[in-house]
């Protein structure tokens, strides 16, 4: 038995693999003693990992990269030997904004192209009438929640920095902020979108995977320095996570998984069920939307760190002015995701992606294909695209 590991996490459904690894005994089976520490903010998780109070952490993918680049905070190189999952977010809006989008929509509003154009019309209309700008909540400056909202808005011609207000809100405060009218919508992970819908105060407008089909959401992050000195522990940790992920992927274990997660999150098992099944109630009236890619955490698809995903996150960081574009920074970002450590611990039997060979592994709903080897060209294509008139009809 090695020295006890302290691992920080935020109570969200996308921590499932980590929670199951510990609570179902997969870490203990690898001879690891783990103390899971529940945290209240991403800043705390990052700082406690950075200064060594945590050995590992459940972390937003872009935060692992930002920390390694030293943007937004002190520079502490982190590495990712295991991807906890893809996707899992959703954009929820108040029933009032939803109604406004519906009436401004020129066709099926479940198409993000249509909803983004509708948003642009609502924003323009409010500006004309002198009504206060719309405010959207997201969880952290370096997060897919931020980037997904921005990506979606910008595609319809809304400038996320000028035409609306984006505010950081801790996930547990999202729903009450929607109720109080402090925000008109938000992008957040599970279970908070479902909580808003169940309370009748929000409509889920889009799943995150409708904006970007395949984007690394949460990772297991370690300090590079610590990982370098604890090879065996890192490998054991990755193996235990991989076993947990396999366990999570088997439908016959669903009840047990839901129990563990709901217990740790202190939330309703029903909400965890819906999330894991990608089967969400999207309106207070009870309409259901199902998407198998809503959250992807099973072993065959989710766990091998993919440097293309790191490059993608870095491209978003650059696109929204959080860091300059340079080959050096991009290389640093890509090196955060370590498929070699994953393969060394568990092999790559499933032949998961990695190594920057796939042309576009993100699958955004609109815009140029993402090319990790040419981020400058990718971003330039976006700028070109933005000056074009929005298309009037969309052929899907």
């Amino acid at each position: 038995m090695t020295a006890p590991l302290r691992i920080g996490y935020i109570p969200l459904v996308d921590a499932t693999t980590l929670l199951v690894a510990v609570d179902q005994g997969f870490t203990a089976a690898e001879g690891l003693s783990v103390e899971l520490v529940r945290e209240v903010s991403w800043s705390n998780v990052r700082d406690k990992l950075n200064i060594g109070l945590f050995d590992a952490a459940h972390l937003l993918s872009p935060v692992a990269i930002a920390s390694s680049l030293g943007i937004g905070h002190v520079r502490v190189p982190l590495i990712v030997p295991f991807n906890l999952g893809y996707n899992g977010n959703a954009i929820t809006v108040s029933p009032r904004l939803f109604a406004a989008l519906l009436s401004a929509g020129d066709s099926d509003i479940t198409d993000p192209n249509v909803s983004a154009r509708a948003l642009a019309r609502v924003v323009a209309d409010r500006k004309k009438r002198g009504v206060e700008t719309l405010t959207f909540g997201m969880t952290f400056p370096f997060s897919n929640h931020n980037y997904q909202l921005r990506y979606w808005m910008a595609s319809g011609g809304v400038d996320p920095d000028e035409d609306v207000r984006l505010v950081v809100l801790p996930p547990p405060y999202m729903v009450e902020s929607l109720v109080s009218g402090h925000v008109d919508g938000f992008c957040v992970g599970a279970p908070w979108n479902s909580v808003a819908v169940d309370l009748g105060v929000g409509n889920i407008l889009h799943f995150g995977c409708e904006i970007m089909a395949h984007v690394s959401e949460k990772v297991l992050a370690l300090r590079e320095h610590w990982a370098g000195e604890n090879h065996d522990t890192v490998a054991a940790l990755v193996r235990s996570m991989s076993r947990a992920s396999e366990f999570v992927g088997k439908i016959e274990n669903r009840e047990r998984v839901v129990y563990i997660v709901a217990h740790r999150l202190e939330t309703l098992p029903e909400l965890v069920h819906r999330t894991l099944g990608g089967n969400l109630k999207i309106t207070p009236e009870g309409a259901i939307r199902k998407n198998d890619s809503y959250i992807v955490i099973d072993r065959s698809r989710a766990n091998r760190p993919d440097p293309v995903q790191a490059a993608w996150a870095y491209a978003q960081i650059v696109r929204w002015g959080q860091a300059p574009l340079s080959d050096e920074l991009q290389m640093t970002a890509e090196n955060v995701f370590r498929p070699d450590l994953y393969d060394g611990a568990v092999g790559n039997a499933h032949g998961q992606a990695g190594g920057g060979k796939i042309a576009d592994s993100v699958g955004a709903f609109v815009g140029p294909d993402f090319e990790a080897r040419d981020i400058a060209g990718y971003l330039a294509a976006w700028r070109n695209k933005r000056v074009r008139q929005p298309r009037l009809s969309v052929v899907r």
């Binding site: 209240v40 950075n50 200064i51 937004g72 002190v74 400056p141 505010v167 801790p170 547990p172 405060y173």
Partner: protein, 215 residues
């Protein structure tokens, strides 16, 4: 590690050196949902000569409040989820009058550690000399620690009182059921606890539970 120079005793740090004179003009915002701790902190800062101290207890619309206050230093409780909200200030230099940076820099991991241990985090306006805020952070760390001690003493006292009540109830049940004096009832609880290698409070709780069941 930061030494704890100041406790709750207000005496002994009334003098302000000339270097700190200018610092009395620093605007300090305290973001803390615990009004008692915030008060302890504010008192400490005022005693140390900082006159412009503002408390923000309500985290609703936190950024707007902070922009309105335009503080030089922001102190926030680490257990406050709204810490993430402050991180946004690094991002929106266009919207903020002055960009803000966290006090501690890379070379300062001991300070971070001490601050995190004490559960406090500080943000300062970019460009403010570190030495000028060191004393503020030191003071906050010691005050946060003092508050944590007070809190744990209070919890301890509460627990003790709670135990006392439970034992009294158990004694009462035994006195009535077995027609014992108070002293004999207590002796019975104590010897049973010793024989079963348990705490007296556990035995008392069992007596109460059993009595409830037999009602």
């Amino acid at each position: 590690m930061v030494e704890t120079r100041k406790g709750l005793d207000p005496s002994g740090h009334g003098t302000v050196s000339s270097g700190e004179q200018r610092d009395s003009a620093l605007k300090i915002a305290i973001v803390d949902e615990s009004s008692i701790r915030a008060a302890i902190l504010e008192d400490g800062l005022r005693e140390a000569g900082f006159t412009q101290v503002q408390r923000i207890a309500e985290t609703h619309n936190l950024l707007a409040r902070i922009y309105a206050l335009d503080p030089d230093v922001i102190l926030i409780d680490l257990e406050n989820p709204s810490r993430d909200v402050l991180e946004q200030m690094f991002q929106m230099s266009r919207a903020v009058k002055r960009p803000v940076a966290m006090f501690v820099d890379q070379s300062d991991s001991a300070s971070i550690q001490a601050a995190v241990d004490a559960s406090v985090s500080a943000y300062i306006v970019d460009g403010l000399k570190k030495e000028r805020v060191t004393s503020i952070l030191d003071l906050c760390i010691s005050r946060f620690n003092a508050f944590a001690r007070l809190q744990s003493e209070l919890d301890h006292a509460k627990d003790a009182l709670e135990e006392r009540k439970i034992i009294d109830r158990a004694k009462g049940i035994l006195m009535k059921a077995k027609n014992l004096t108070e002293e004999k009832a207590y002796v019975l609880l104590r010897t049973t606890a010793m024989n079963e290698n348990k705490k007296i409070i556990e035995i008392a709780q069992s007596v109460i539970t059993a009595a409830e069941l037999l009602k």
